[in-house]
Structures are given as C-alpha cells and as structure tokens.
Symmetry: C2
C-alpha cells in the first residue's frame, strides 16, 4: 500500500528543519542504487518552480533514467530565481554523493510556500540522514514527510499479472486542470523501457489528476514521477502495467479530492449531450470552478439555475431550452425549466459527502466529467494567510 510496495525500491522520511517539527524531507530510491527507467509529467504553469526545471533537465540528460527522487515539504522553491535553481541542483547533488551516483540521476520535488528562499542548509544537513534511513519499509515515512496541509497520507498499490505499482502523493488546494499543488511518486517492479513508461504515465495522469478541479489554480510545482526497477520482469500482458498505473493514479487522485482544503463535499460533475467532448470538458470545468456554484453545494442547495448560468457563459454550444440537470440521479430541470421531482430524495443526496451532478445539454454525444469540491469557510480560513 505504499511507494515501496513494488519490489526493488527503498524509501525514507525525516525531519530536517524546513518545518518547525514535522517530517519534511523524503526519499524514494532504487534498492540497488542503480539508475532505472523513469518518466514524469510536470505542471504547465509558466511560473515553473526550480525543482521542476531541474528534474525535467535531469530526465533529458539521462534519456529517462533515475536512481532516486528527493522531496521536501514546507517550501516550494518557486519564484526563487537563480538561487532557487542552484538549490534544486544542490539537493540532487547531495543525494547523488551519498548514493555514489551522478547528480542528474536524481530527481527533485518541493512543495509548500511560494516566493520564499529555500532553507538549503537545513535540507543539505538532512540528506545524509534520509539516505541512511532508507529501507523497503520506509514508504509510510516517505509519504508522511511530503504532507503540507494534507490531513492524511495518500498511498496506493495495485498488483496485476505478477507486477506491482505503488505510489504516494500529496495534494490539497490548487487542484486544477493540468494537475494541482500535488506531487506523486510511483514505482513499479515491471521491466519496461522509458518510452512505454512515459506513455502509460501520461495516460494515467490524464484520466485521474487532470480531472481534479479544486479551486481552478494551477500550481508551479506539480509533478508525477514513476521509476521502474525491472525486478518482476516484463509484463505478460502489456495492458496490465498500463491499467495498474492508471488505477494507482486514480486512487491517489480520489484521495486528494477527499482531502481538498476545507472541503466538506466531493462532487462529480458530468456534462453529457454536448456538441463535442471538448465542449463537455469545458462545461464541466466551468461548473467546477464557479465560486457561486461551489458555495451552493456547501449549503446543500440544488440550485440548478447556477449550473445553467455557468454553462451559458462557458463559451460552448448551448441552448437553454434543451438543458436538463439532475442531482443524485433525480432530474430537477428539463428543457430549461424546473420540473416537479422528489424533493426529499434530492435533499437527502445534497446532505451526503459525495454529490453527483449531471447536466445534459441535449445537443450531441460529447461527454466529460471532473471531480471537485465545495467552497467553504474552512477553505477561506486555510488560504487567508501564509502560515
């Protein structure tokens, strides 16, 4: 159930001093210390954090191989300019020295506050300890040390056809199109080349993390990395690996939705009957990023008029007279007007933690869905200040 579930990997998590007391430095490495095939998906935000620049460059330099990933929480090393880029390189070099590897065989992730210089001395002093602590039982500690405002550790593992994929992640706010303030490290014991691994990871990310929308903000640091030890040999059926990677991504994404900052609800928004899948996706994201609509969910209010208004301003093909909307499977509006329905059933559904909203545009075959949350007092509390 962790990043060390797949054979051939070790991990650790320690406190080094970026945060006052909690674990804040994490390592995932191959058991042998050798570099293995690796792949990653990074944020599309142009305010790219230093560790993203460094990890991307390292993967390019090695042709898609890595021996370890080092991660810190408490500081995102983003908006930190040239010194930040030096610090990210120093983190990799520090781990590489301990492992007896080249610096570009180490990848790096940071998460936490933006725009504040990384306390690099604390991190460098902690690296020998985190490397020394690595073990096949270290997955839990590693997952613990990447938490920021997460209220619980996020771990997953899937075994299919004799191969295992494990993973850990941190999420919270800023879960948006093209990933989130989220980091995930996956491992597999399958024997697979870099290109295949990269394809499988991209496919898994597209159907999981990229369908999560918390507040529409895109993070500077989003990174998903996978390493493949090869210990279990090549998959008998190539689909097993692809599916296992997707399932781990989906599990981690679902855990993130359940732990989004200040949320009281996990809301699945589906748009059907759109002129195209692209239109359906834009419509679903428009609903999921609407402050007004998100507040109405917090109030357990099936206010379909807001959903209609979000769709009408989403820049997609739309005809008010063809719209129907349902909450928890109960249709509350058809052909653009309210219809008599079982109000008790809707009220019961709105009081649940998990909501399901379907808007059918009545125009075509386009469908899409996203997972999102409500907008709450606690979200405002968590994001009022930097502390």
């Amino acid at each position: 159930m962790s990043v060390t579930a797949a054979r051939g990997f070790v991990a650790a998590g320690v406190h080094c001093g970026v945060k006052p007391a909690d674990p804040d430095l994490s390592l995932v490495a191959t058991a042998t210390g050798e570099a293995v095939p690796a792949a990653a998906v990074f944020t599309a935000n142009k305010m790219t954090a230093a560790p993203v620049l460094t990890s991307r460059a390292h993967l390019e330099a090695t042709g898609g191989r890595a021996a370890a990933v080092v991660l810190n929480s408490g500081n995102a090393n983003a908006a930190t300019g040239g010194p930040g880029r030096q610090h990210a390189e120093q983190m990799c070099a520090g781990v590489a020295t301990e492992l007896g590897r080249a610096a570009d065989e180490v990848l790096v992730c940071s998460t936490g506050l933006i725009g504040i210089p990384l306390p690099i001395d604390a991190i460098l002093s902690g690296i020998p300890a985190v490397v020394a602590a690595r073990s096949a039982e270290g997955g839990v500690d590693a997952a613990e040390a990447i938490r920021t405002t997460d209220t619980f550790r996020k771990e997953a593992a899937v075994t299919r056809g004799g191969l295992t994929v494990g993973g850990m992640a941190k999420g919270a706010a800023m879960l948006a199109p093209h990933m989130a303030t989220m980091l995930a490290v996956l491992t597999t014991d399958a024997d697979v080349d870099h290109a295949t691994l990269a394809d499988h990871l991209r496919a898994g990310v597209d159907r999981s993390f990229n369908r999560l929308v918390v507040d529409g903000c895109m993070s500077t640091n989003d990174t998903v990395i996978i390493l493949a030890s090869g210990v279990a040999g090549a998959p008998d059926d190539p689909r097993d690996l692809e599916l296992a990677i997707a399932e781990v991504c989906e599990s981690l994404a679902s855990q993130m939705a359940r732990d989004a900052e200040g949320a009281t609800k996990v809301v699945r928004v589906e748009v059907r009957g759109a002129a195209s899948d692209e239109d359906a996706d834009r419509g679903a994201r428009a609903i999921a990023t609407s402050q007004l609509t998100k507040c109405s969910w917090y109030g357990c209010d099936p206010y379909w008029g807001r959903v209609a208004s979000d769709l009408g301003s989403a820049g997609i093909a739309f005809d008010p007279d063809r719209l129907s909307v349902s909450y928890g499977g109960v249709v509350v509006a058809r052909e653009g007007v309210s219809v008599a329905h079982d109000e008790d059933a809707v009220a019961t559904h709105m009081a649940d933690r998990d909501l399901s909203i379907v808007a059918d545009l009545g125009l075509g075959d386009g469908t899409a869905h996203v997972l999102t949350n409500d907008l709450t007092h606690a979200y405002v509390d968590e994001n009022m200040g930097t502390s």
Copy 2:
C-alpha cells in the same frame, strides 16, 4: 444624483409582492410618455434571461426607441423557459397599456433568483400602482426597488456643457467580464440619435462595468439601458455626452465594487509590461478570479508568489525572471524574486479597504487593469443558499 436628474424623466418604486415586504417593482419613463432614442448593452451569457430576450427584441422592433423601462427585483425570470418569455412580454404590455403606448416601446429587466417561475400575477397587479406613482422625484424609490443583496442604493449624475446624465444600478456578486448580475438604467436630457447613444454607451460600459470582476461568474440578466429625452437640446461639444455617460458608468461600477457580496476590500489589479494589451487583460483577470489570491487579500497577506502563479498559468507570454510585483506602490519582488522592502508600509497598505497591486511582466507595452474584491467568509455565507 439619480435616474431622474436628467430633465424629461420620471420614475417610481413600489412593493408588489415578489419579495415579502421590500420594494420590488421599479419604473423609469419619459415625462411625456413618448418614446425617445434608447440603447442597451446586454449579457453575453447564452443562458439568456427572458427579460433580456424581450428588451433586445423590442429595441430592434422600434429601431432603438423606448418610452419606459420596468424592472423587478426578487426573481430574475431566468431559466424559466417559454412561460418566462411570456411573463416578460406581459410586464411590458402591462406598462404600455397604462401609458397608452405600444408594448415594444417598453423595456424590461429582472434580477434575483434563477430557475424559479416569476410571480407574474403579483407584478401585473403592481404595475398600475408603479405607473401612477411616477414623478420627477421618484429616482430614489426606483433605485431602492431594484436592490437585491445590495447594502446601499447606487445612483449617479453628471452635468457637462448644459446636459445631464443620471443613472441607477444594482450590483452585488457575479460581477465578471462582460458585466455582472447588474442592472443599470441611465437617462440623459441630451438630444442624440440612437446610433450615437449606442456607441457612447458601449464605450462607457467597456471602461467601467466590463472592468469589474467579483467572482468570475457571468450573469444571465446583465443589462445597461439608456434613454435620451432630448429636452436639453444637442450637445455643444459631442465629447461632453460621451464623457458624462462614461463618468456615470464609472461611478456606478465603483459603487458596485464597494458593495460586492461579502467583500472587505476593493482591489485594483494592474498588469503592465505585457506583450500586448490583451495579454495584460487576461493576466489581470486571472489574478482577479484566483480563489487563492482573493483569500490572501482577505487575510491582508501580500503573497506575491500567488500572483506570479496566477500569471504563469494565464495562458499569456510570461518570463518568471522578468516579473516585478508591488503592493501600494512598494515593490516586493523584482526579476522574479523577493526583494528587501519597507514591510511596515506594505502591512499598512494591506490593512486598507482599498488595495492597489501592480504586476510588471517586463516584456512589452501592454497594460490593463480590473477592479475586484477579496473572497471572504461573508461571501460564502451569502452564497450558500438561495434564501
């Protein structure tokens, strides 16, 4: 200081029963009862409310003339299908009968909840009373009767070169690109044709209401209407009318920003140095619609890293190493990194009700600004439920 400040207009506001007790039915009409040149700007939301469809059709039918505008609060008559469109026509016909005019010489606006049938009987029973109550002193009552969650009436008047422009408005949440949940009725005593009036109104709206962003949601009902009585004759200088219209629009928009739902701050966000004005506009709107950034303002937190992250994901030309950000004129970041600055001065500014944030992208000459607000507990409270 009101919609009856310009000569040749009368107005009234009464209670008809859409709301439990408060005034909810409003009228602005020419003093003579004759139709005069008129122009309007409407929402771009495709979930277009019935009164918008009706007013647009009436202006087209008359070639840009109107004798009166009837407005109700408490129910937006949006997402109400065919019956809603009939109700909007009935409101116009009711007023036209009382005034002895054709129905298409009357325009109509509604504001309030979406997706709930308009209580048309209450409105029709109130129309004789609101028409009978009309007077040159009725501007205040008319402005009062269009309030929804507004905490104060919004009125303005400007006199230039012997001609006057007056106006009233209602705002609150959903102030977004291409207008807001906002209604405004302007009047002028200038003698001006429909085409010129329409040009002036469009220009005034572009530099005022369309630069307001509260929560990024676009209303189904947004409407700005102007009527010109001609009593003061043609402007000596044609610029006087254009300026006076723009100034009234700006005053009303500023009052809306100051009264946005649950806001504790009015924030002017300016983006300079963009590759184009369009990029600057997209960047400023990205900052103004960022939930994370809006929460940080509520917390008086000059967290420039969030502003940088918003700009990096805005889909515009952006180089982190060229970005500078200032709060209240104090530069806190330059070339993409934090710089030493007068922290007391910034803290004092962040505690103000009015904030000024400037992000300079260092790439070109593009500039734009928007007015927006913070995201607060009270915003969540006001939008949790329909009541």
